[in-house]
Subunit: 404 residues, 2 copies
């Protein structure tokens, strides 16, 4: 008789976005005239850059001719893209990462979920709170947690590291020493970045404790402050303690196109076993390569024309972020994020809970955002707005909030 | 201190195709004039069908406009594609499978590797021998096997079901009752199909023993015999014991485009837990949807124009298969497969081992194929040729073998 993986039964329903959708639908039904502005989504809205579109059409045409048709791609990704990434994302920033340490994939969500497969079940996992749920859920599914504790809103057996105002949304070292540490900077949902000095302390901590950092840098393209590191490999010693996840989703609007990569340095070794070789084997066994046409689209992001267009897209979103920041501040709100990230993390006023503020904003201003408590208990009392809307709608939303 | 997943250390190197490449390179170096014909690869060679190319260009153009741009796709796949599949691949064949039991993905290799995550570690796994290595390796990585036994060429703790001439390459029920059974028909590498009666016996066996069948039907588009089932759901009772894997790779030449799907019927339940809901959760947590443009390309495969073109591609390859079969038979070879599959499985002559025959064919006829023993010990004494080359080259290859 086959038996299921009972760890799945520990998982809590992911009710956050469906609860939001339900509340908005109910409000719309009762207020048909309401002009609702959505600043809750984490998805981009601008179309793909012209240079990316051109690269896609060209690659599609190649697939139409026997001479230029491409079948199975290398599981690790095409050399032309991996070399481009090594050069632009790493060597240009002084990071010593070579093309054969870069593994192309179809998404940082997949990579976030899959990296844990390289480790045994008895590793102690540390995550930030609030947190991107994939780090937690994929480890719960693999049996690295106990049951969910409804009273604390947390899984037993995991280490949660609160990120709140008092630590500048950068976690302190936990009391219990973890084996594997998930860090995401610039952070989703808080929108706050980490300084190079603070990240260096984490790298030193990991090396000292033989811990591994899984560093999610999916939002690095939004960093505007030159002091903020784009990659963990800007820190000394990161090659012996860190895996890095990157994505084209927010960098170049590829959420519907699917392209990402993971960096696994050759210096990552445990008892002589190379993590890079393990990941290579994992990729070779369970992955069959990212579509050729999508990899060509990714290449376009690094070429002159594409680079300029992508920068314009990011500037468009970051102008929204600035509008939100400025407007909320002038309305007396305490706000975080929005400088090195497309996310604004605001403190709910008058001690309202995250969900009370959600209702207030929906009813008073017809604006939809995301309650911070949906990302973890330490998110309570906070609220996430995103800069991915249109400039006009974003500006109007802020006017409404100011006038409410 | 973080600890690695030591099950990875049990994995054997996948030397098959690299050994082949090395031998071919050495021969070419020594015989610069040799005109080598490759019939070893499992990758398609014809370019994408015009209807697919048209759909891709159209979808790319949609991604260029804000009004038609698509961001994150539904993790389960777009409704337009799932409905098309339910209608054409299942309802049209009398199989009761609905769109919400179909999960679109980027490859049957990924799905083959990921399905095991739904089950606990202590399930007993049965695989055919010879076998597509992903079923074995993904279960070894998850800790469902013992060590590899060099003497037997098999992992301890797994059930191997030999597929040889004496059982028509369809496995007998094993002595030890398995919990999870991997079946692939039409089979890679043997190219042989299973009759509906034989498959029904497996379905009955699984239901009787509360076992689960993971049915890989990646090659179903090559079935020419109307008596051969395309889907396991053509058998009575399969909805309570079978998951099915399908692919666009061989059906429509999507090896470089990446599109597949898994069927998980709602009737699959263990202790009241729905496997369909578990897979949905797995997809939702660790997958972020297949590219919109690729799903539109998949839709084109089911529309009138695309359907005709895809059929022509399959006929082109199957004409190759017939040439190989006919030629080898007339040269006195014992051959299998090639009727409902693009693979031809030939018995090596004069008691040669698979590798001896590889060398013979390379040196005598300058033809590259795949030694059967590379797929498992029961593949010893067999050799795989594929129909995915050009017609002219295939014909010439067969002439060379006949004259050798």
């Amino acid at each position: 008789m086959y038996k299921i993986n009972e760890n799945f039964l520990k998982l809590q329903g992911s009710y956050l976005f469906s609860t939001i959708a339900g509340k908005v639908a109910a409000y719309e039904k009762a207020h048909k005239e309401a002009d609702i502005i959505r600043l809750g989504i984490g998805d981009v809205t601008l179309p793909l850059a012209p240079a990316v579109i051109k690269a896609l059409h060209k690659a599609v045409d190649e697939m139409a001719q026997a001479e230029t048709f491409r079948g199975y791609a290398p599981e690790q990704g095409y050399e032309f893209l991996r070399e481009m990434i090594a050069e632009n994302d790493f060597k240009a920033r002084g990071c010593e990462i070579s093309a054969d340490e870069i593994f192309i994939s179809d998404g940082a969500k997949c990579d976030s979920g899959n990296t844990q497969e390289l480790f045994s079940q008895d590793n102690k996992i540390a995550v930030c709170d609030p947190v991107y749920p994939v780090y937690v859920d994929s480890n719960v599914m693999a049996g690295r947690s106990g049951e969910f504790n409804k009273a604390t809103g947390r899984y037993e057996g995991l280490i949660y590291m609160p990120c709140r105002e008092d630590n500048g949304f950068v976690p302190d070292f936990p009391k219990e020493t973890p084996d594997i540490i998930y860090l995401c900077f610039p952070n989703n949902p808080t929108g706050e970045a980490i300084t190079k000095e603070a990240l260096q302390r984490w790298v030193d901590y990991a090396n000292k404790n033989n811990a591994l950092i899984i560093y999610d840098a999916a939002y690095e393209a939004y960093i505007s402050d030159p002091q903020i590191p784009h990659s963990i490999y800007e820190c000394e010693g990161a090659r012996t303690c860190a895996v890095e996840l990157r994505s084209f989703s927010k960098k170049a609007g590829f959420t519907g196109l699917r392209l990402a990569f993971t960096v696994v340095p050759k210096d990552l070794k445990r008892n002589g076993v190379s993590l890079r070789d393990m990941w290579n084997r994992r990729h070779g066994t369970k992955y069959n390569g990212t579509p050729y046409i999508v990899q060509r689209a990714g290449e376009a992001v690094y070429l002159e024309e594409g680079k300029t267009q992508i920068q314009q897209q990011i500037q468009y979103y970051m102008r929204n972020a600035q509008e939100i920041l400025k407007g909320l501040k002038s309305a007396g709100y305490t706000v975080y994020g929005g400088v090195n990230s497309p996310y604004i993390w605001l403190k709910t006023p008058d001690g309202l809970s995250s969900w009370e503020f959600f209702d207030f904003l929906l009813e008073k201003s017809n604006i939809v955002g995301t309650p911070g408590s949906g990302f973890g208990p330490a998110g309570e009392g906070f609220f996430r707005l995103t800069a991915f809307g249109s400039y006009e709608k974003t500006k109007e939303a802020i006017e409404r909030i100011k006038n409410s």
